[in-house]
């Protein structure tokens, strides 16, 4: 076991003791695609923090730094604009991985009409029908039943309407705190009961704001709760995008084959506080250091270079490209119009 894990706490100990995922392999093309997506997530969020402190965005803003391997590992293993994605209040990066343009996400955070929710949703309510993003759900657990409904539609179209091509899989993302909520258990039960094509992706970052995971739950190993429902459960190194991707691929394959749901617990960590308003006073330096040393983007960069899949220069070029994309998103969002006050009450009803 990694000697630094002891001082870093139980969550770190679990990661350190995790049975290795086995030798990972990825093609150069996929490796660069994953690197690009994770870098976009990171740089986008860093820019959000900057814009928040400059007073360009408001309200509660929850950043995803540190957890990129989960969004990229799962969503990039799925089919864009075919499979469905369901997120939480920490949804910016899921939206980006799903293909929502950075311009639309940044515009939404600025409250602009060009935002993916037309400035009506905000940071915690990103939606895109075009990119099959079922939305960011701000209350704990409420997105899981919605995701279950999307998975039900897949099965309904296949088995009640006889559409053999209906094989869309839904991924529901949520955190460790949600796994103590009734909707989690209710939906695991129904998903297993009806063999629905869904991935329950737990981003266990140990902290539900200030509540440490092992202070909130009787059994911290969330993936084992799958067994109670007779479904596949897997624990994975959430700082290793290739491990997450491989686990997601196994789960997606099962789901598409009609073998039902999977509970995937990704051990991860958020590098920033719960939100930009969180003073982050409870997490120890030893813990933060342990996880910072396992930065998933740096880990992938090292993997790609060690295996001769990409050079440092190539990775730099990707970063430069991403920085340009994020800068473009910012200038686009700054210049974009606000919603028309005459449309304040539009979108209440389906007809307008």
């Amino acid at each position: 076991m990694d000697s630094s894990a002891g001082a870093a706490g139980s969550h770190a100990e679990r990661l350190a003791a995790l049975y290795p995922a086995g030798p990972s392999s990825v093609s150069r093309e996929d490796g660069l695609m994953l690197y690009r997506d994770m870098t976009l997530g990171r740089r986008f969020e860093d820019k959000c923090a900057e814009m928040y402190y400059r007073g360009k965005m408001f309200g509660f803003v929850h950043l995803y730094n540190g957890q990129e391997a989960v969004s990229t590992g799962v969503i990039k293993a799925m089919k864009a604009q075919h499979d469905w994605f369901c997120s939480t209040y920490r949804d910016h990066v899921h939206a980006l991985s799903a293909g929502v343009p950075a311009r639309e996400v940044m515009s939404e955070l600025f409250g602009k009409e060009t935002g993916c929710s037309k400035g009506r949703g905000g940071s915690m309510h990103l939606f895109s029908k075009e990119h099959h993003l079922l939305g960011g759900y701000a209350f704990i657990g409420e997105g899981i039943p919605v995701a279950l409904g999307a998975a039900f539609t897949s099965r309904y179209k296949r088995d009640a309407l006889g559409d053999a091509s209906s094989d869309a899989v839904t991924a529901a993302f949520f955190g460790d705190g949600t796994c103590n909520n009734g909707q989690f258990f209710e939906c695991l039960n129904m998903a297993a009961l009806w063999k629905l094509p869904i991935l329950f992706v737990v981003e266990n970052n140990k902290w539900a704001i200030g509540m440490a995971h092992d202070r909130a739950t009787s059994d911290p190993e969330i993936w084992r709760k799958a067994a109670a429902f007779g479904m596949a459960g897997e624990e994975v190194d959430g700082m290793d995008v290739l491990a997450v991707r491989a686990a997601a691929q196994r789960a997606i394959e099962r789901a598409r084959a009609g073998e039902g749901p999977t509970l995937l617990e990704c051990l991860t960590y958020r590098f920033r506080g719960h939100s930009l308003a969180d003073p982050d006073e409870l997490r120890s330096e030893a813990e933060k250091t342990f996880w910072a040393e396992r930065d998933p983007i740096k880990a992938l960069a090292a993997h790609l270079q060690e295996h001769g899949l990409a050079s440092a220069e190539e990775l730099k070029a990707v970063e430069k490209e991403i920085d340009a994309e994020v800068a473009d998103a910012i200038s686009f969002a700054l210049a974009a119009p606000e919603p028309d006050p005459a449309e304040l009450t539009r979108y209440i009803w389906a007809e307008d």
Binding site: H125, P145, G149, A160, E186
Partner: protein, 327 residues
């Protein structure tokens, strides 16, 4: 033509709409094999199969949320609250998701869902099974609320609710399922947003809904014998109110009584009278009157229960007073 019981009228509406549109489905507790607690989905499981008439575990919050996700991805679910009171457990999904999601998503998604089931005060069912949630849900943006009161409007409104692209909370009444009458022939649909002018009159307007329509009819009979000519309107649509029909009536009678089964505080009548005061103030010759249930949990004891909700004699007395200018 034979008469149809109200629960069968609802069943026929759901059956016809399921036959017409393969995306229409039913979720709920005991809706399938059992046929629904009040038999509103009787035999539909056999006819349409276990996915289209889905027996769910007892998990109101989650199966209501599931309906939202299913609606967002193309289905048109009807959710049965075995008792509407149970939907308190799904309040979050009805409010945050069904009601608000189209707006917060900037129009990305529509949520064509119907949430239906028995509400109201039954016969000694105890407080939890005797709720009038129409008042609790009234403030939620983005949902339509209707209350049915006869086999004819039950069928026509159910068909309209299923075809509507918005979420509709559809209130039936536990004591009205066995009403029976002859239904209009053919594929008729009632407008979700139109009140029903039950009886024309010139002296007093009575606005009511659901089971209280029938209490009002009893009162009207007696008032008629006394020479008091009541205009009786069944609101049908509790959100939005059909203010056109309502204000037209008040312009004629200049007097209004609201008779409701919900509690007085924060009730349907509270909002309705506020609107009447705003929009019809100059047409009123007397202050509007509310006859509502007591602000208490519905007691089990039969006598106390009767005292909790409005009875026909109270409607008669109030109309007399109003007509005589004593209110």
């Amino acid at each position: 033509m034979a008469e149809t019981l109200l629960f069968n009228a609802l069943r026929d509406a759901i059956d016809e709409e399921m036959a017409r549109d393969p995306y229409v489905c039913v979720f709920g507790e005991d809706v399938g094999q059992y046929g629904g607690s009040y038999k509103v989905t009787k035999d539909l499981y056999e006819k349409y199969g276990e996915l289209r008439v889905l027996d769910t575990p007892i998990a109101e919050n989650s199966f209501t949320g599931m309906a939202v996700g299913a609606a967002m991805t193309g289905l048109r679910p009807i959710v049965e609250g075995m008792n509407m009171g149970f939907l308190l457990l799904a309040f979050n999904q009805i409010s945050n998701n069904m009601g608000m999601l189209r707006y917060t998503s900037g129009g990305n998604f529509t949520i064509p869902t119907v949430v239906r089931g028995p509400g109201g005060v039954g016969r000694q069912l105890g407080a939890e099974h005797s709720q009038r949630l129409e008042a609790y849900f009234h403030a939620v943006p983005g949902i339509k609320i209707v209350a049915v009161s006869t086999p004819t409007n039950a069928k026509g409104l159910m068909k309209a609710a299923i075809r509507d692209n918005n979420p509709v909370l559809f209130f039936e009444h536990v004591l009205l399922y066995n009403l029976s009458e002859e239904l209009p022939e053919g594929d008729y649909v009632c407008a979700l947003d139109q009140a029903d002018l039950v009886r024309e009159g010139k002296d007093v307007t009575i606005l009511t809904y659901s089971r209280m329509r029938h209490h009002c009819l009893k009162a009207v009979e007696q008032l008629e014998a006394e020479g008091i000519d009541v205009e009786l309107i069944d609101l049908i649509s509790l959100k939005p109110f059909d203010m056109q029909t309502i204000s037209k009536s008040i312009r004629k009678t200049h007097k209004v009584i609201v008779v409701e089964e919900c509690m007085k505080t924060g009730g349907i009548g509270a909002e309705l009278i506020a609107l009447i005061t705003e929009q019809c103030f100059d047409d009123l010759d007397a202050r509007p009157v509310r006859l509502s249930s007591q602000d208490i949990p519905t007691p089990y004891n039969g006598k106390l229960e009767n005292l909790t909700i409005i009875q026909p004699h109270q409607i008669v007395e109030t109309a007399r007073q109003l007509k005589a200018g004593r209110i």
